[in-house]
């Protein structure tokens, strides 16, 4: 069992949630309640990471993060290290790859709130911010939790993007799923098996948690 790899995986999963959740709540709410020009394009862009092969996504992210790109240069100047093949780069790539997993459930959660309820909140004298905090977010909370859990699970299992952007550096970018591949290459079936079982348990637990949460949403609406 590669404990360092598990630690990297957990750190990556948690970090992705911390970065992505506020963004996902903001964008999901925007897409759910506002009608603006270019909304279809934004929705399409949000979905892109879902349909692209992870290696293709990883390739483009690698190019975008590279020392020759403005982003790569800016990061190099400010932080003093390069983005590719670092935990920070991996975290950023993971956040981008997980955008659809966060934004879409949250958007659906906000969309499920009847417009009349939002209008009633306005007629109660609540400001747009108070409506967001006191009505929208509490009502969409199960969806937000679902998004967080899905993202965490998906990050643990991510392979293509990690390998393309992060490589396989122990303690830095070697996640559990990469470590499994690594062990298999070294004919260490037992080590790979233990780690695979660990991920399987996490996956089942995740699905059970989301099911319980979605059932709670159903009860509240009933």
């Amino acid at each position: 069992m590669d404990w360092t790899a598990l630690r990297v995986s957990l750190a990556l999963g948690a970090g992705t949630i911390v970065i992505l959740l506020p963004f996902g709540i903001w964008l999901g709410h925007l897409l759910a309640v506002r009608h603006f020009r270019g909304k279809l394009l934004v929705e399409a862009l949000v979905t892109v990471p879902l349909v692209l092969p992870p290696t293709v996504l990883g390739f483009y992210l690698l190019v975008t993060f590279g020392a020759r790109s403005p982003l790569g240069q800016a990061f190099q100047t400010i932080v003093g290290q390069s983005l590719p093949f670092s935990f920070e780069g991996l975290l950023l790539a993971s956040a981008i790859a997980n955008i659809p997993f966060v934004v879409q459930p949250i958007q659906r959660g906000f969309e499920a709130i009847p417009n009349d309820v939002r209008d009633a909140a306005a007629c109660c004298g609540l400001t747009p911010w108070e409506r967001f905090v006191r009505i929208d977010v509490p009502l969409a909370w199960p969806s937000i939790l679902t998004a967080a859990i899905l993202t965490f699970a998906h990050t643990l299992g991510e392979f293509g993007v990690v390998l393309m952007v992060g490589g396989n550096l122990p303690g830095e970018t070697r996640t559990l799923s990469v470590a499994i591949y690594d062990r298999m290459q070294a004919f260490d079936d037992r080590g790979a098996g233990i780690m695979a079982a660990t991920l399987l348990v996490v996956a089942v637990a995740t699905l059970m948690a989301t099911t319980v949460l979605s059932r709670r949403v159903g009860q509240r609406r009933g």
């Binding site: 209008d119 306005a122 109660c124």
Partner: protein, 366 residues
């Protein structure tokens, strides 16, 4: 007392055509009556600031809420509007008290709970404070919505089809509740409905709306005595509406005697109490006209009056006769042939024959 008259002027061609000029004074109940899809809800949403038509002026007293001409638009949360939505739109994650407290943001935090409790008590929900909307019946949800709307201490109360989602018994109870509340509320009350019964039971004024067009505006009594409202005739039938007081009861005969500004009227009713103020509607098709006072009839009411207007409907052979009985204008719908045989014209003295069972009585508590 600040002037709280609400005035509304709306013009728009699309997407929803609107052409409306109407006002409502404190203490009055304006019913916006029309078929579904006629733009009734859009008018309420415009008053609340939830909808912005192409051309609109909405004023509450001396405050301008919307004026597209000068670019004034007060956002909904800054308008003192109490809005009871059609499906109530309660906050599903908050208790009944929590729903009401959400509209008490203009009070100090410590005052909100006692105020919410007092408001829920006012709508007879003291024992439902901690219940979530999903645990309340339709009628109870409606009353929470009403308490929440009143919590805002609004300058105008808007009710969108308030009785559409409840059964008949609950509807009557809620109508009475709003009727009683109206006396204690010093604000205009605007009610949207497609149910004519709401108009007769609750409204002091009515605006008839079709495809966003205001067809007629006025007091219920005035509009219901107009013989030329073809639209109303086709929608619900004509029939004058006026107020009366129960002057005498004859429970053993199953009758009650009403006095009104045109005389006396016997109605078939054994439950109404002496002295009660009631509203009366007499369907125009139920009135028989006679040129002399007939004798030997089974019916109870023979009222004498003078023809004040005659309106022939171009679409069929019916003629609507408006008869002044004292200060009340009755409508009678008869055939063109009958008009010619009796020689009815404006100024003709006639008798209106009305069966006691034909008189529709609207009294609180039923």
């Amino acid at each position: 007392m600040a002037d709280r008259r609400v005035t509304i002027n709306l013009r728009q061609d699309s997407p929803i055509p609107l052409d409306v000029d109407v006002a409502c004074d404190p203490g009055d109940v304006l019913a916006i009556f029309g078929p579904s899809g006629s733009g009734k809800t859009t008018i309420l949403r415009t008053i609340a600031g939830l909808y912005r038509p192409a051309h609109a002026v909405v004023r509450s007293g001396s405050t301008t809420w919307t004026d597209t001409g000068s670019g004034v638009f007060v956002p909904p949360h800054q308008r003192a509007v109490g809005f009871v939505f059609q499906e109530y739109a309660l906050f599903p994650h908050l208790s009944a008290a929590g729903n009401v407290m959400a509209a008490l943001g203009h009070h100090a935090r410590s005052e909100r709970r006692p105020r919410a409790e007092a408001l829920l008590q006012r709508v007879h929900l003291s024992d439902r404070m901690t219940r979530r909307p999903a645990e309340l019946s339709g009628g109870e949800r409606q009353r929470v919505a009403l308490a929440r709307a009143l919590a805002r201490e609004p300058a105008v109360l808007l009710l969108d089809e308030p009785f559409a989602a409840v059964d008949r018994v609950v509807r009557r109870a809620l109508q009475d509740e709003i009727h009683a509340l109206r006396r204690t509320l010093d604000m205009p009350l605007i009610l949207v409905t497609h149910d004519f019964e709401d108009v007769v039971r609750l409204a002091t004024h009515v605006m008839m709306l079709e495809r966003g067009q205001s067809l007629a505006v006025g007091t219920v009594t005035d509009l219901m005595s107009r013989p030329d409202l073809t639209w109303l005739r086709e929608a619900v039938g004509l029939g004058s509406v006026f107020n009366a007081i129960v002057a005498q009861t004859y429970p053993d005969r199953g009758l009650a005697e009403l006095t009104f500004e045109g005389g006396k009227l016997l109605v078939a009713d054994r439950t109404v109490a002496l002295g009660t103020a009631v509203r009366v509607r007499i369907p125009a098709r139920e009135i028989i006209l006679a040129t002399s006072r007939p004798a030997g009839l089974s019916l109870h009411n023979v009222l004498s009056g003078t023809v004040s207007a005659v309106h022939a409907n171009p679409s069929d052979n019916q003629v609507v006769v408006q008869l002044a009985v004292g200060r009340v204008l009755l409508l009678a719908e008869v055939t063109r042939d009958a008009i010619q045989r009796l020689g009815v014209a404006v100024g003709t003295e006639l008798y209106a024959l009305i069966k006691s069972v034909s008189v529709e009585l609207v009294a609180p508590g039923r």
